[in-house]
């Protein structure tokens, strides 16, 4: 049993203790979410095996390796199980590298509650490490800890150092390797201070809204989407007080971090520490469970790898060629094929002609003949009979698969589920012996209810058959339906409907790789978006996986001639409308009129913006009475006058670029008198906030590859552009690329 340390905290008042506070860590052995349901109904997440070792062992081993002296283990759901595990493991013994104290609270519903509870215990005396029990890391802490302490000395308002690591999100699905959503962070490049944090940022909008003061107060800042939150923080004791003061803070990131960043009054600061070479990851969902398992097998987490991290009471796995980990007492039939990057735990028996690849198999499993297992995580004491096929699934302790059962990708079988003969469990289904809680709101309570009392009665047997699976939701599952199907094929367990994300999003967080069709779909969508430049009309996507954009582009070619004619006609109409506007028609009406014109001619927003701009310039020519000296002034006046109109039609970068291109085209063809003053007008447009620097830079980089003749105007605006390249402004990779493009084009000139 873990030792209680109530007495010691009281003794902390003497000066020696205060002079050198031991490094403390708060380990939250509960994640306060439901992503690992239904497994977490029966066992706490931190005790789930990750490559045959409970996750919490990795976390504790790391804490020990970085020299933490006191660990406060906060348990909530299944506290008894966690305490029992710690008590029996060597962590609870006196010779472990640190003392471990369990703090139990059955009422905490969130990380915020937990920290408030710990605050109440009055045990934290100095800077502490805040970590959840499902984090795997091998990084060194000394540097970051020292930096944190130095910053604290300089500025007592520093409350937290967050660890981040580089990890590019996948452009198609906007999620990282670990299945987390893309995070947008703004970081001061000098001080590494975190200025902005957004984890639910809408990537479809392709825009981010920053507080203006953010740009005003900081000389430079990096906006980055290629960072991943490690979920390890060095916190000052103030963090607990802040949580106490703001009793509505629940989530560590969504409430606490964002709250501090948005609240200027408190003036508390959060810093980041970027790690690069060492490994840190948190098991947050099934996809990260899969990815991290693979990383561990590939030894990124060294020395926390299966053949080194040693729990002590069983035969240790040894690493063999091709990344195969095998315990010495595994019984394999000679005809078994073991593929690369597989781990097989002690006491497991595998029968003839079976094949295992990319999988982790736990201890004391019995696997029959002709079984194929690919990409699966099979925990302890699982029985798989002959001829089963499993792919990309998680199979918990004590599961029994009868002959010929098939698990499709993404299946989760919770503890002791049985799957009957020749039954196929459809993709992404979650099966548990416990029924799904019918009311979503009561989920939390159920998680904390003691599962020991959850005796499963025999009537809760539900049959799994390919026929009824598609339609049945568990809430409507009753004992009536649990009649054995013909031929006596049966199973035991409830199928859960997905509670949080809905079936559509299931693939995103599953253990199974993203299906090819989905990727194709995303690819098509992205292609489509680029094609119809932000028209917002992506409804015509079929689910066949065919590349739709191809067919669309052929349509485009056919109607090309007609289309061109339409545009020029449209431009004429817009011009006329604009002239009327000069004559005194109210601006709103003009807007309405132009809008309806746009719709009737079916032209894009960008073309419309271009047309409006053309009209403005033309009106300037008329006003200047074709005298060249007056031209610039007249243009400025015209822009100033119709600023409202322009800003109404020019709303995003693509439209801005269209305007610049239009202007360039005009200077070359229709209104040659503008050519000499091109750059001054561009400057005016920028000053009047009609065009943003983004658009100008993009325009420039687009022109970078053009012929020399096309670059006349780029050259002319060179001086103006240089100003931008001096701005240390970066919005992740894309802007960096743009800047890079801008630089190279400048060099070319």
């Amino acid at each position: 049993m873990a030792q209680k340390k109530g007495g010691k905290s009281a003794a902390s008042d003497d000066p020696e203790e205060l002079a050198r506070t031991p490094l403390q860590a708060v380990l939250l052995a509960d994640t306060f979410n439901l992503k690992f349901r239904p497994i977490t109904l029966e066992r706490p997440k931190v005790l789930l095996p990750l490559v045959n070792t409970p996750m919490i062992d990795y976390t504790l081993a790391w804490l020990e390796s970085v020299g933490v002296e006191e660990v406060f283990l906060f348990c909530c759901a299944h506290a008894e199980q966690v305490k029992e595990y710690i008590g029996n493991s060597h962590w609870g013994q006196s010779h472990a590298g640190f003392s471990i104290t369990t703090i139990e609270s059955n009422f905490s519903m969130s990380a915020g509650d937990a920290l408030r509870f710990i605050e109440g215990k009055n045990v934290i005396r100095g800077d502490f490490i805040l970590i959840t029990g499902d984090t795997i890391s091998n990084m060194s802490l000394t540097e970051a800890l020292q930096a944190h302490k130095d910053r604290r000395k300089k500025d007592p308002d520093t409350v937290m150092t967050m660890f981040v690591k580089r990890s590019k999100p996948m452009p198609l699905t906007h999620q990282t390797r670990l299945g987390n959503d893309e995070i947008m962070m703004a970081i001061d490049p000098e001080t590494k201070q975190l200025l902005y944090y957004e984890d639910r940022f809408d990537c479809s909008k392709r825009a981010v809204t920053l507080d203006k003061s953010l740009l005003a107060d900081n000389a430079s800042l990096y906006l980055r989407t290629d960072l991943e939150d490690c979920c390890i923080d060095i916190c000052s004791p103030e963090v607990l007080t802040i949580f106490l003061d703001n009793f509505d803070y629940q989530h560590l990131r969504r409430h606490f971090v964002k709250g501090l960043l948005h609240d200027d009054i408190m003036g508390k600061k959060i810093y980041t520490h970027e790690i690069d070479s060492s490994y840190t990851a948190r098991v947050d969902n099934y996809r990260s469970y899969d990815t991290i398992s693979k990383d561990i097998i590939q030894r990124w987490s060294f020395p926390l790898v299966p053949d080194v991290l040693y729990a002590g009471n069983r035969a240790q796995m040894r690493l063999q060629r091709e990344g195969i980990y095998k315990a010495p007492d595994v019984t394999l039939s000679p005809s078994v094929r073991i593929g690369a990057f597989t781990a097989i735990g002690s006491g497991t028996i595998i029968g003839e002609n079976s094949s295992v690849s990319n999988s982790v198999i736990g201890e004391l499993c019995t696997i029959g003949r002709n079984v194929s297992i690919d990409g699966c995580y099979i925990w302890d004491s699982v029985t798989i009979e002959d001829g089963c096929r499993l792919s990309h699934s998680i199979v918990c302790d004590g599961v029994h698969l009868h002959t010929g059962a098939t698990l499709e990708p993404g299946v989760i079988l919770s503890f002791k589920v049985e799957v009957g003969q020749n039954i196929t469990v459809p993709a992404y289904s979650k099966v548990s012996l416990l029924p799904q809680p019918s009311k979503q709101d009561s989920d939390e309570e159920l998680e904390y209810a003691d599962t020991n009392s959850g005796i499963i009665d025999s009537p809760s047997i539900a049959s799994i058959s390919p026929a009824n699976i598609e339609h049945d939701h568990v809430s409507s599952f009753d004992t009536e339906q649990s009649v054995l199907l013909e031929g006596g094929l049966s199973g035991v367990g409830y199928i859960w409907t997905s509670c949080e994300t809905g079936n559509e999003e299931e693939w995103r967080y599953s253990v199974a790789p993203i299906p090819v069709e989905k990727l194709k779909e995303f690819y098509a969508k992205m292609f489509d978006e680029d094609e119809s430049s932000s028209d917002g009309e992506q409804t015509g996507i079929t689910h066949s996986g065919e590349l739709i954009s191809e067919s669309k582009s052929t349509d485009f070619d056919d109607s090309d001639g007609e289309y061109k004619g339409d545009v020029s006609k449209f431009e004429k109409e817009v011009e006329e409308t604009f002239e009327r506007a000069l004559g005194g028609v109210a601006e709103e009406n003009v807007q309405l009129e132009i809008n309806s014109l746009r719709m009737s001619f079916n032209v894009t927003h960008a073309e419309c913006a271009g047309a409006v701009f053309q009209s403005v310039i033309k009106s300037a020519i008329i006003a200047s009475n074709s005298s060249k000296s007056n031209l610039l002034k007249a243009t400025i006046d015209a822009i100033e006058r119709s600023k409202g109109l322009l800003s109404y039609f020019i709303t995003n970068v693509d439209e801005e670029i269209e305007v610049i291109l239009k202007f360039e085209e005009m200077c070359m063809e229709i209104t040659r008198e503008f050519a000499p003053i091109f750059s001054s007008v561009l400057h005016q447009l920028y000053d009047k906030e009609v065009i943003t620097e983004d658009a100008i830079l993009k325009w420039e980089s687009e022109k970078a590859d053009a012929d020399e003749s096309d670059k006349v105007f780029v050259k002319q605006s060179e001086a103006f552009l240089k100003v931008f390249s001096h701005l240390n402004f970066s919005t992740g990779v894309s802007v960096l690329q743009r800047l890079y493009g801008a630089m190279t084009s400048l060099k070319l000139l």
């Binding site: 081993a61 020990e64 390796s65 060597h90 013994q93 006196s94 010779h95 590298g97 091998n138 690591k165 580089r166 990890s167 590019k168 996948m170 198609l172 699905t173 990282t176 390797r177 690069d276 070479s277 060492s278 490994y279 899969d290 990815t291 693979k294 590939q298 030894r299 990124w300 987490s301 060294f302 020395p303 080194v308 991290l309 040693y310 002590g312 009471n313 240790q316 040894r318 690493l319 063999q320 060629r321 990344g323 990057f341 990319n358 690919d374 990409g375 990309h392 199974a512 790789p513 993203i514 090819v516 989905k518 990727l519």
Partner: protein
């Protein structure tokens, strides 16, 4: 015992680096284990052997790749056996020795306990071991040793009536012998580098790979004897310890050239001798050494350049290598080669069944077969690879090759 579990944890977490440090700490730990062992009245040696074996088994399991742990455990077991034998052997003679010699012995103990212990150990070795060629040569100039040993053992014989005193005596002499072993481990650099002048000649070009402290001291010693020679250092990817070595060598005024590992074959024709360190020397004369060594050894063989391995005797392992590339190797984290950030950038995790296409393998050791090694230089002198098993027989007793106890399982 807290020390033991602490040390086991350190070994498990790979927090002790290098066989020298491991060997030394293992010896110190076993010394404290022995001093804490309660001695029964009968069969004391067996009790000590059991205690050491029990700890040793755990230590070896904690890091099976670090062979120095097992070496030292076996050395200590061997010491206990020898001390036990010598005490029982001399107890018969003890009666014949006069009181006076006993006093002398005591004075000896006060004046130079280490010397006396050394004598005991040397004597024990010479009297009780089957005489190998090596021991014959070794003991030639030391005829005085056995007589001393008998006097040392005499007091044991005399106090035989008091059994606890005998127990203390055995324990004491074992601890003395372990102290000697620790000293030997500490002194191995000196003993080896003394021989440097015999091997390194004027204007030679020496090639080494990675960073070995033994090699460094060896080269220093030659330099101190005013030999002028040049050193090529292969950088030893992926940890680039060769860079560190090169910087250390130029501090001592050695002319040093750093080359990449991949340039070894191109440079080897200009080299007179290859001198490298080792992680462990196996019983067949094969060498477990930092990665890249096999390539270097093959290159040396191709150009008939002598390939010399310098290693302290604590690196001598009595085991024969079986599948050494896998079983005696350790795959470290790929982050030595590629930053994890870079690795995660090139992941297309959706495709190919979710398995990453890029694998990074970072083995720590290479196995160099015995036929590629021209000469071993240990603290006892130069040896041929084929002669290694003889040398090993001097240090270990055959009963200790398997440490694992049969029936009882640990934990």
């Amino acid at each position: 015992m807290p020390d033991v579990s602490d040390f086991i944890l350190k070994l498990q977490r790979r927090r002790i680096e290098g066989s020298h440090a491991t060997a030394r700490q293992t010896a110190e730990l076993l010394r404290s284990v022995i001093s804490q062992t309660r001695m029964p009245y009968t069969n004391q040696a067996a009790a000590l052997l059991d205690a050491v074996r029990a700890v040793g088994e755990q230590l070896i399991a904690a890091n099976p790749v670090e062979l120095a742990v097992g070496n030292i455990v076996r050395r200590v077991l061997h010491i206990i056996r020898e001390e036990d034998l010598s005490s029982s052997a001399v107890s018969f003679e003890g009666l014949m020795i006069s009181e006076k010699s006993d006093d002398e012995d005591d004075a000896d103990h006060k004046g130079g306990p280490v010397l006396s212990a050394a004598a005991v150990a040397a004597a024990a070795r010479s009297t009780l071991r089957p005489r190998s060629l090596q021991t014959l040569l070794e003991d030639g100039p030391l005829p005085a040793a056995p007589s001393k040993s008998s006097s040392a053992g005499d007091s044991e014989g005399k106090s035989k009536s008091d059994k606890s005193a005998v127990g203390k005596r055995l324990k004491h002499s074992v601890i003395e012998a372990i102290n000697l072993l620790i000293e030997e481990i500490d002194d191995c650099y000196e003993d080896i580098s003394e021989q440097a002048v015999e091997h390194i000649h004027q204007n030679e070009v020496i090639l080494t790979l990675g960073r070995s402290k033994t090699v460094k001291e060896f080269l220093y010693a030659a330099k101190q004897k005013n030999r002028s020679f040049r050193v090529f250092v292969a950088e030893g990817a992926p940890r680039y310890q060769g860079h560190v070595l090169a910087k250390e060598l130029i501090q001592k005024g050695l002319e040093t050239t750093v080359i990449t590992d991949s340039a070894i074959f191109a440079m080897i024709s200009r080299v007179n001798m290859v001198i490298v360190g080792a992680h462990a020397i196996m019983a067949n004369g094969g060498v477990i050494a930092p990665v890249g060594m096999n390539m270097l050894a093959l290159a040396a063989q191709r150009h008939a350049v002598p390939f010399v391995v310098v290693a302290g005797s604590h690196k001598l392992c009595p085991l024969y290598p079986h599948n050494p590339e896998v079983l005696l190797n350790e795959l470290k984290s790929p982050s030595d080669l590629i930053d994890f950030g870079e690795f995660s950038d090139c992941m297309d995790f959706g495709a190919h069944g979710g398995a990453p296409l890029m694998h990074v393998v970072n083995p720590t050791f290479d196995y160099v077969p015995p036929n590629l090694v021209s000469l071993f230089i240990t603290d006892t002198g130069g040896h041929n690879a084929a002669h290694m098993y003889k040398l090993i027989a001097d240090y270990y007793s055959a009963d200790d090759l398997v440490i694992k106890r049969k029936s009882t399982s640990s934990n």
